[in-house]
Symmetry: C2
Subunit: 426 residues, 2 copies
């Protein structure tokens, strides 16, 4: 267990997220993933993530358990003003304090209510109460203050569960203070993306390289949407030396998977496409039927995407395919909306109507209903290209609606990426 | 702690998700939320969710810890064919077995490779190995079989981390077998959505009702996107009696929050809109600038939405606003793209071009760049309505790009919901 002992050498953290909503599935816990990334970049090893309900016994048991092995315990959730939120009184009792009004927190709550023009009631004043045994972390984005406790050389931090409030506190207060409190090792990553090859086949190709990795450098396979991301993670005290070691190992890995590598850094397909379009001074449009705006959403989630993405015509109804994308009614009535001809015409319509260099078009049956023996659920046609070069491909996905949409979007993006990369023009 | 003892009366489960990717934040754990919902519906109380890395000591420690308090331990992840996946050998050793080839799993792996037309290598054969002390759960969607272990009256189930493979096993095998193994209590929920009122103010309004709730019925506040969902959860052995009790309490709650309640059941705003449009036989289009397809994505994520949603014109570039939505160039150059006039014209353009009864239009500055003193990042104009009634509203959000987009979409949907609900026509 070389890896485990490596990890044990570093400062370790646990995350405890609190809230019944996490235990009945009403909310997906995105906070933990964000905090994990932030800790990792700061050189802190996250050893465990735990979610418990709004239940005193469970919260206390998680605190007892996690501080056995971790030096940093980050807690989110359960700080709201209502009766089901019990994190603050439980922590107050756990650390042997009593609740007192914090003047900074009170001024903040009052300012927020004044801005919203809402009356303050007694339980809003309670939001400004904190245990007298903690350092208060002021909340610039909401009413619940954060709390920093120290006990036996360990740090416990309680933050609100609202994502942007937690993120603000982490960036502005918690991470800088943790950096100062502990002497942190350095953790670094290198990531690449492959397509068209399975996880086990990659493993076979790179086996002897992987086996020869030193103990403080580790490889992970992260398959998603039919592609596999490979990530090497190194761990050490000499920042510069680690960086050089990782570069050498990463170059060796890239050479081994060269023919399947589609991106050589830790960015998404849509980011890679955006970067290539900026370099070429080119523009993109989409014409979406089955992806229903998901492609446009992925592309416009990138800051600054308006520089190269002009828009989309989402033609969920055939009438719109005809009217706005000039798909011929003959094609729709003979080949059908889910056909190679239709996506070709949709693509041409997008290039013309939205006046761009490149376009993507999608049409398919995402399920659960709408399939036929000829075109079962999961049948998808994608076209990608420019006015000189249109590539089409048919896919047969066998997932649920959500994943069929996601798979279509990712395969379509990869088709376009290849076309742009190989385009001699511009 | 009446609630805690209530919970302790029921069959309890823990979820252990395994994978370094969960600890460095590369992947958001959506599996846990899905499993939590499924367990909850089956009358099993999920008491804790734990995520650990691909590390033997951590996995064993989590197994030891969780089986102290839970009767069911559901495990996902770490079953891939590569060296970083160690869940199977660790479980094999933990339960004192040895790995043997399972003929059913082997046939499945072979069939998958034949279908993909990929060569099988040694580590693919290893995918068919299972501990001889488990019951094998065949995987109809991938190569890694699931494993069911029984020890001291407790159930341990190991499943792949790929979401649709895990979901298939849960629905087809794990949940039915758990139902048979344990005598399960009945858990039921009632949910409503409020808008335009804060969590603490609701709490004040319903305080005496909440305090009088019996111990086996519990209220939770779930704020999101500036709205608050209220959920009551009941717990008991008499299914019919519990249902009646919940109905009575829910009616009382609905009466108390009547003026802020926008939906009286556990569905999303977009589902509520879809239901109303079906009832009216009416159709919807969107014209999106700043939401960039996210509105269309939310609407088309609903199965069957093609019956009432016709499509969107995503006009990320002003040129597209003019050309496809007939926004006047004068408006764009004087009032600007982010203005009341522009979204009004976009909305009219969408109604005409996409030929629908209702439409939504959005335009704003989502950040991080693009703001000005006049129109800072987070400035958003939304229009919603039909040809006779267009409502506009300006918002000033102060979040990151992702959340600004989500907030805009949710507020826009709620504006439309209100218009449709109050529309005397049709």
């Amino acid at each position: 267990m070389a890896q485990a002992s490596e990890r044990r050498g570093s400062i370790q953290a646990s995350i405890i997220t609190i809230g019944d909503e996490l235990l009945i599935g009403q909310v997906v816990d995105t906070n933990s993933a964000w905090m994990a990334t932030a800790l990792n970049k700061a050189g802190i090893w996250l050893r465990k993530r735990v979610s418990v309900g709004d239940d005193k016994a469970e919260i206390v048991s998680a605190l007892d358990e996690e501080c056995k092995n971790a030096s940093i315990i980050l807690i989110t959730g359960g700080l709201g003003p209502t009766a089901d939120d019990i994190t603050k009184p439980v922590l107050c009792e756990y650390f042997g304090g009593r609740l007192v009004i914090d003047e900074g927190a009170l001024a903040n709550v009052k300012a927020i209510f004044a801005r919203l023009n809402r009356p303050m009631i007694e339980r809003n004043f309670k939001q400004a109460e904190v245990p007298d045994v903690c350092t208060v972390i002021q909340n610039k984005r909401g009413t619940a203050p954060g709390m920093w406790f120290e006990k036996d050389g360990k740090i416990f931090v309680s933050m609100p569960g609202v994502p942007h409030e937690m993120k603000g506190m982490m960036m502005e207060y918690v991470l800088p203070h943790l950096q100062r409190f502990f002497t942190l090792p350095f953790i670094d990553h290198r990531t690449l993306l492959t397509a068209g090859i399975g996880e086990s086949f990659i493993a076979e190709q790179i086996q002897s390289w992987e086996n020869a990795l030193p103990a403080h450098i580790k490889l992970a396979y992260l398959p998603n949407y039919g592609m596999v991301r490979l990530r090497i993670t190194g761990h050490g005290t000499d920042r510069l030396r680690l960086r050089e070691e990782l570069d050498v190992q990463f170059d060796a890995l890239k050479a081994l998977v060269k023919q399947w590598m589609v991106i050589g850094e830790d960015i998404t397909l849509q980011q890679a496409i955006g970067n290539m379009l900026i370099q070429k001074g080119a523009t993109l449009a989409t014409a979406e039927s089955c992806t229903g705006g998901y492609l446009a959403h992925l592309l416009t989630s990138i800051p600054g995407s308006s520089a190269w993405y002009k828009g989309s015509i989402i033609s969920y109804a055939n009438e719109i395919k005809e009217k706005l994308l000039q798909v011929s009614s003959h094609t729709l009535s003979t080949a059908g909306a889910v056909s190679e001809e239709t996506v070709q015409q949709m693509l041409k319509g997008a290039l013309t109507q939205l006046n761009t260099n490149y376009a993507i078009a999608t049409s398919g049956i995402m399920g659960p209903d709408g399939g036929s023996p000829d075109k079962p659920v999961g049948t998808v046609w994608v076209a990608a290209g420019n006015e000189n070069n249109i590539v089409t491909e048919k896919f047969s996905f066998r997932y649920d609606r959500k994943r069929n949409i996601e798979m279509t979007a990712n395969f379509a993006l990869n088709m376009l990426r290849k076309i742009i990369a190989e385009d001699p023009g511009r």
